[in-house]
């Protein structure tokens, strides 16, 4: 008998599993059960949630629960962009909700008040819905991602969800899947038949932000090492500077991370890179103040944006964007760069052109995702 192996550090606070009665014998539940059994978390209790119970209650301090749930809603969704700013318009494959890591700026704190990590265990239903959407017209291309209501790879060690998704999408070469994460899990890699249809993606930030505002996540070096491993295996990667935070020393911090990227990657290995300034629903600010009392960036000069979200005052955003874009361009980056949710004015002032010049942001990113 082999010794049980510890879970990755970001999963060690999982102390309970809930599973819907209808999902108790699903392949996903069996896999999670098996993987947990092989780990030092083999002892944690499982609770079957009877049909009709609409939510589980779990409140044990810092402990987290994993909930393997039968999801009845739409698995393929649109990104909730607004008209006021240019949206990247990717489609969301909804695989679950909530995240085991803890970033002070994370919007999920406002969405989910409990520590229950939900995973949709009815994968058959998900693949049926996706199959219908992606097969209806094989000439329609899709750029999809799973990292909207969770981190794409946070639970991969237990669920193998992205690996399943990649295996399913192997038969759909009109779809590019982006896996956006702040941890390193490359167990999905060998499932991909076409390395040009999967875009592993990592969020980056200034070292100070990574160290002080992101908890239970991997280091910047680990993320870039993983990106290099993927690039060497033939994948192109995506990087996201989001949220860019205005803090004392931001110039040195972002310069350091930007320079570091090119110790690991060349510009042609990067499909695209977004820059997004910290913005949030006004309700999030007091939540951050309560949950992360040392997060002082929330007290910067924010104003209500055109979408009602609090955003950094435009000249301050421009100052940061211009600094970063200049530095990225000096490293050879150009058409890979785009802004997440910015106005034409900001595009023009920083890039010297607007998304219209690129044929629209959605079209541009679609083309880049498909390697054109």
């Amino acid at each position: 008998m082999t010794d049980p192996s510890p879970l990755p550090s970001h999963l060690r606070r999982i102390a309970q599993v809930f599973v819907d009665e209808s999902m108790a014998d699903s392949p996903l539940a069996r896999r999670v059960r098996h993987r947990l059994a092989d780990s030092t978390h083999g002892h944690i209790p499982w609770t079957v949630v009877p049909a009709g119970a609409d939510r589980v209650h779990f409140d044990r301090g810092a402990d987290q629960a994993l909930y393997l749930k039968e999801y009845k809603g739409k698995f393929l969704r649109f990104c909730p962009g607004t008209r006021a700013y240019h949206c990247c318009a990717y489609r969301i494959i909804h695989i679950g909700e909530n995240c085991p890591m803890a970033c002070s700026y994370c919007i999920l704190q406002a969405y989910f008040q409990d520590r229950v990590l939900k995973i949709w265990a009815n994968q058959d239903d998900l693949f049926t819905q996706l199959g219908e959407a992606f097969s209806a017209d094989r000439s329609t291309r899709f750029r999809v991602g799973t990292g909207e209501f969770t981190d794409s790879l946070a639970l991969e060690h237990l669920t193998g969800y992205s690996r399943d998704l990649i295996a399913f999408l192997n038969d759909h070469d009109n779809v590019v899947l982006e896996l956006k994460s702040k941890v390193v899990d490359l167990s999905w890699m060998d499932a991909a038949k076409r390395t040009d249809r999967v875009l592993p993606a990592w969020s980056l930030n200034a070292p100070f932000i990574n160290e002080h505002e992101e908890f239970h996540v991997s280091t910047l070096t680990e993320r870039l090492e993983a990106a290099r491993t993927c690039a060497r295996a033939g994948f192109r990667v995506c990087l996201h500077f989001d949220p860019i935070i205005h803090f004392p020393g931001w110039r040195e911090g972002y310069a350091q991370t930007i320079d570091m990227i090119f110790d690991y990657l060349t510009p042609d290995q990067i499909a695209y890179m977004s820059l997004g300034s910290f913005r949030c629903m006004p309700q999030l600010t007091p939540i951050i103040a309560d949950n992360f009392p040392s997060a002082t960036y929330i007290y910067n000069e924010f104003v209500p944006g055109l979408d009602g979200k609090a955003r950094l005052l435009r000249p301050l955003r421009l100052e940061q964007f211009t600094f970063m874009v200049d530095r990225l361009r000096a490293h050879g980056m150009d058409r890979q760069l785009y802004f997440c949710m910015e106005s034409s004015e900001v595009w023009q002032q920083v890039f010297g052109h607007t998304p219209r010049h690129l044929g629209g942001l959605a079209n541009h990113l679609m083309a880049r995702a498909f390697g054109e």
Binding site: T296, Y299, E301, L306, E345
Partner: protein, 320 residues
């Protein structure tokens, strides 16, 4: 049940009127003394028997009034010495009394030493007219952590309950820096919360103590003494706002200056509608008759040739 059916009478001087459970003890009002002189004591006070004689459980003002009138006190006996029960009996006896935030806080300061949070929420908050878990309950919990001197400001109505959250977020040095504003001026709820919040957030934004933010913003107390209390508070609030939003305020000032020049001698108004999120400006004019319409069109044509437009569109630059 700790209330007995036994009543006694005793001279006021024979009743000990000290004890932390008498947290709202106050001298009798002239109205109460008048009423008791005319009608006598309508309602018995609560006392308990101790080895040292009678001790008051509730009814401080009535005992004091009877003492002043030289009349004996009618008292009902209570059979407990438990401080929680004494406090709850005191609340029950005072249940018709109108409460303010300072009184609620005084009661909670007494019970907090005796009960845990769940018991406070279950037993005490409802007696104080506060819903457990409500915003007021959270604010009172914040106030419990503040020093007595702040409670004095609350009791005097110089600082509102709503300021509790930001005061507790400040450290001791920051609270000391803002304390003089509340020793002399009586602030409205919104002005107090705005002033404190803007100062606190400006200090966090710049990584400096509140005292330094205040000094740099010209908020030291001296020169403001010349102003009336109302003007002083308005000035302090405006200065705190400027400290909180230095870039935005500077842009707004530049915009206002350029806008004034642009619309000089016309009925037109110019506004920036979206905190400079776009370059857009809004022009408005109020017109009541054809003559005004003709004039407005004429003025607009003249304004189009004025040089101030680009100053409106680029408020990040100093155009002087």
């Amino acid at each position: 049940m700790h209330l007995s059916n036994e009543t006694v009478t005793a001279p006021a001087s024979a009743i000990r009127t000290a004890g932390a459970h008498l947290f709202w003890a106050a001298e009798p009002s002239p109205g109460l003394i008048r009423s008791m002189a005319r009608h006598g004591q309508a309602q018995a006070v609560l006392v308990r028997e101790t080895a040292d004689g009678l001790a008051l459980v509730a009814g401080y003002a009535r005992v004091a009034a009877q003492g002043q009138l030289g009349q004996p006190v009618l008292a009902r006996l209570v059979e407990t010495a438990d401080p929680v029960e004494l406090g709850l009996l005191y609340l029950a006896d005072n249940s018709l009394r109108p409460l303010d935030d300072a009184m609620r806080l005084a009661a909670l300061r007494y019970f907090r030493l005796l009960l845990d949070d769940a018991q406070l929420a279950g037993e005490v908050l409802p007696c104080l007219g506060v819903t457990p878990g409500s915003r007021d309950a959270k604010l009172l919990a914040d106030w419990l952590t503040l020093a007595d001197s702040w409670q004095g400001h609350l009791a005097a109505g110089r600082v509102p309950l709503a300021a509790g959250t930001v005061l507790t977020r400040m450290d001791e040095a920051d609270r000391l820096a803002v304390a003089p504003f509340f020793a002399e001026l009586s602030w409205s709820r919104s002005n107090a919360v705005n002033l404190l919040t803007w100062l606190y957030e400006a200090s966090k934004m710049t990584g400096r103590p509140v005292a330094e933010v205040m000094a740099d913003s010209g908020m030291s107390h001296g020169p403001l003494r010349e102003l009336s209390p109302k003007d002083a508070m308005a000035r302090l609030t405006a200065l705190a706002r400027e400290a909180r939003q230095p870039t935005l305020r500077a842009m707004q000032t530049r915009f206002d200056t350029a806008a004034r020049k642009l619309v000089a001698d016309t009925r037109w108004r110019v506004a920036q509608p979206d905190n400079f999120e776009t370059n857009g400006v809004e022009l408005t004019v109020r017109i009541a008759d054809p003559g005004q319409l003709e004039q407005a069109v004429h003025d607009l044509q003249a304004m189009a040739d004025r040089p101030h437009w680009h100053q409106l569109w680029d408020t990040t630059a100093d155009h002087d």
